[in-house]
Subunit: 453 residues, 2 copies
């Protein structure tokens, strides 16, 4: 058994105890009431970094939730890796679908259950424990910096400006991130690209007040019916998004690239079973993996209007609302897409209603070249731990800030994620397999041992 | 000045004080937490009836909210009028749009403001005060019974069974109701018909849990998008409802009937201005008054799904929901329509989702003949008070229980309503003009003086 393997075994219970303290802190960035928890969580991470042996770790205020920055500089002449992670988590609703308290982590069937167990507290903590091991055994071969933010789940609105103001402090040769999934424990993979995001909120207003649906029904446009019709028209029968100009900047992949992507093992029946659906649905002419990896899409993430309480109310509401987001692929620009959407949505509105479109947040898609030193080092590290060469894939999700950091720091991020589809992040019963947690620490250790810039 | 006019002037402040006590009781029938308020309100009405001189008044339990029954029998050989009303009110949301506490009534610009000021506490209270006057001056020329329920706003689910069990007690020759509007103070009108209602709730389920919209977006049918597409398809470009068989039983009106209805003064610009819309919208080939009076319609009364809180959440929800109701016209059957809707809605669902349709409640439409003694007596009473012959109209709203009472008791209800469009019942800032309140009492007095069965 390798030295790192036995070290993890000997210290696993302590690692978990330390992680659970952080998981118990309800750092939900989208809910203002949780602001104090954000600061507490940031302080807990500073403690963890100091305990691991960082020579600097502090909480930095931003326009929003605080940022944690830490570092261990062993030799200025050696390359520096910046580890990015986020300590904020998604809301927990619907709470009633959780089998255990989302903020009282527990271990069931070899997995940690709780909000943030995986995304991203569990995954960023692997890097802190890898640093601890490397420092205690003098095996660190590069400088390491940590940038841990508290607004990833709400679009990293403050971090971009903060990073621009702390450009020198963040100076690095590479950005390493564990905030994504791999295809399977037996089919490790590395994300070489992520989709971007354009997230908007729409408001449809009809009459200036709620109306009695008996007195007015049939003569007045109902904002909910109008909103539904507008949303229905956004995707055509081929699964194509109807917003004018939406696909203009999309780069179609070559036959070779699509073939490479298709090497990733994928069982459609297993996929459907895992989420209990009878049929998949998406853009005609593309596989399910392509639909989530290399093609853009549009989803309504939330909708509300009228009487939604218990019982019934015969009302034509004055307004109806929806949160709508689009996932973008390389070469699409989220600001341009948001503008196209706004223009289109206002254009398709009936003269009977008025429409407001509010851009929420967004992020650029990006791509990490497989040819890079970073990718090769990560690929070797994973192969050593899993015994299999990882498959390069595309991530369907978005980490908008990574595209920004790429701009600001001029280096490519690499996404070495250890989550699995089963972990259901963002949903009730989020989890993280302990085996992935320990393998992740091992792989990160080997990366830091092997990285030479 | 007539005797009744001066009596009202002398006692108006007391009348209002007595009414305000009842308006302060938050009897919202659709919200279980208000159950105690329902009983309190019922007891307040028993007190009011006794004070007016009823020889019997009691609260009767039902399967749901209690019923108040009271009566004054002056001579078994004289005809008996049953006054129907309801003391339950609609929910107050959105609370922030009220200019004053919905349950602390106040008078502004000659009107009473508060939930229930009009619908129906204010209107039923006119009958109690009319009874008080007639008894104090020995002018009552028929027997009077009161049936005041607490579930009208939620479909009168318990009253039908209760009325069947108390058929003898409710025995009467006519049913008189003030729970509707008239066209205008200067254009008094009497409703000779009401639309029916079929109210359902739909549930669309996709994946068995909420999904990360980045990981799954583009490959999995989103229940909100699916629900919106289904709702959008329910009404075609001519404003016709697409549910198969929906119009089969609708009786088209004759040219003469439509012409008579068209006599009601109506200014489209004033109508649009009153609710601040640029254009009306409805079934092609019918006027606005016809669209709300003699034609059926479909409205989404509420919709919800996904993340509807502050901020953003990138989720594909497992489920989406909507409350959908249809207003029906004479000869349509609400049970048949609900069944047709359920069949249709399940039929149009994509194979990617499963759909549940839950009938909420409903009521039959009905029509009151203009040729009846009841109508003539009411018409004369209104003409005496307003100095104008009232216009016969159709009501767009629904009072399902009246159709049931018509069946059970075998007599026609007459809808002598004193509300005005400006009163915005069911909405924030519900109000009732004091001038309509006092004229209403006068007209009811004259009705009871003139009614000979």
């Amino acid at each position: 058994m390798s030295h790192i393997t036995s070290y993890i075994q000997e210290n696993l219970n302590r690692f978990l105890d330390e992680l659970f303290v952080i998981l118990r802190t309800p750092s939900v960035s989208s809910i203002p009431a949780h602001s104090p928890d954000m600061l507490n969580c940031a302080k807990q991470l500073v403690q963890a970094l100091n305990f691991a042996g960082a020579d600097f770790a502090e909480v930095f205020p931003t326009a929003g939730h605080p940022v944690v920055f830490g570092k261990k500089m062993i030799d200025p002449s050696l390359p520096t890796v910046l580890v990015y992670g986020h300590y904020d988590v998604q809301p927990i609703d619907p709470r009633n679908l959780w089998d255990s308290d989302p903020f009282e982590p527990e271990i069931r069937n070899g997995a940690i259950y709780g909000r943030g167990a995986n995304d991203d507290k569990g995954q960023l903590f692997m890097h802190i424990k890898a640093l601890e091991y490397l420092l205690r055994h003098n095996k660190l071969s590069c400088n390491v910096k940590f940038l841990l933010e508290g607004e990833e789940e709400i679009g990293s609105e403050s971090l971009k400006a903060w990073a621009e103001n702390h450009k020198d402090m963040l100076k690095c040769d590479a950005i390493l991130v564990s905030d994504t999934t791999m295809l399977d424990e037996k089919v490790p993979s590395i994300n070489c690209g992520m989709r971007g995001l354009a997230y908007l909120e729409v408001e449809v207003t009809g009459p200036n007040k709620d109306l009695h649906s008996g007195h007015y029904g049939g003569a007045v446009a109902n904002p909910i019916n109008e909103l539904c019709a507008m949303i229905a028209s956004l995707i055509d029968s081929n699964g194509k998004i109807t917003v004018e100009g939406f696909y203009d900047d999309v780069l179609d992949l070559s036959v070779e690239e699509r073939a490479m992507l298709a090497r990733a093992p994928f069982e459609i029946e297993h996929y459907k079973k895992s989420i209990d659906i009878n049929e998949v649905k998406g853009e005609v002419g593309y596989s399910t993996l392509e639909r989530t990896g290399i093609r853009p899409c549009l989803d309504v993430n939330g909708i509300w209007g009228g009487f939604i309480g218990e019982g019934s109310k015969t009302v034509i509401p004055s307004q109806a609302f929806a949160k709508i987001s689009m996932r973008l692929v390389p070469n699409q620009n989220h600001k341009k897409i948001a503008a196209l959407f706004e223009k289109h949505f206002i254009k398709i509105a009936s003269p009977c209603v008025t429409v407001k479109v509010k851009p929420h947040h967004g992020g650029q898609p990006f791509l990490t070249p497989i040819s890079s030193e970073m990718y090769k080092t990560a690929s070797n590290a994973i192969q050593e731990v899993y015994g299999i060469e990882p498959v390069p894939t595309r991530g369907g999700g978005s980490i908008p800030i990574l595209a920004d950091l790429q701009d600001i720091l001029g280096v490519n991020p690499l996404l070495m994620g250890f989550g699995l589809e089963r972990d259901t992040i963002h949903s009730p019963n989020e989890s993280f397999l302990i085996s992935q947690f320990t393998k992740g620490i091992e792989a990160i250790v080997k990366f830091f041992e092997g990285y030479s810039g």
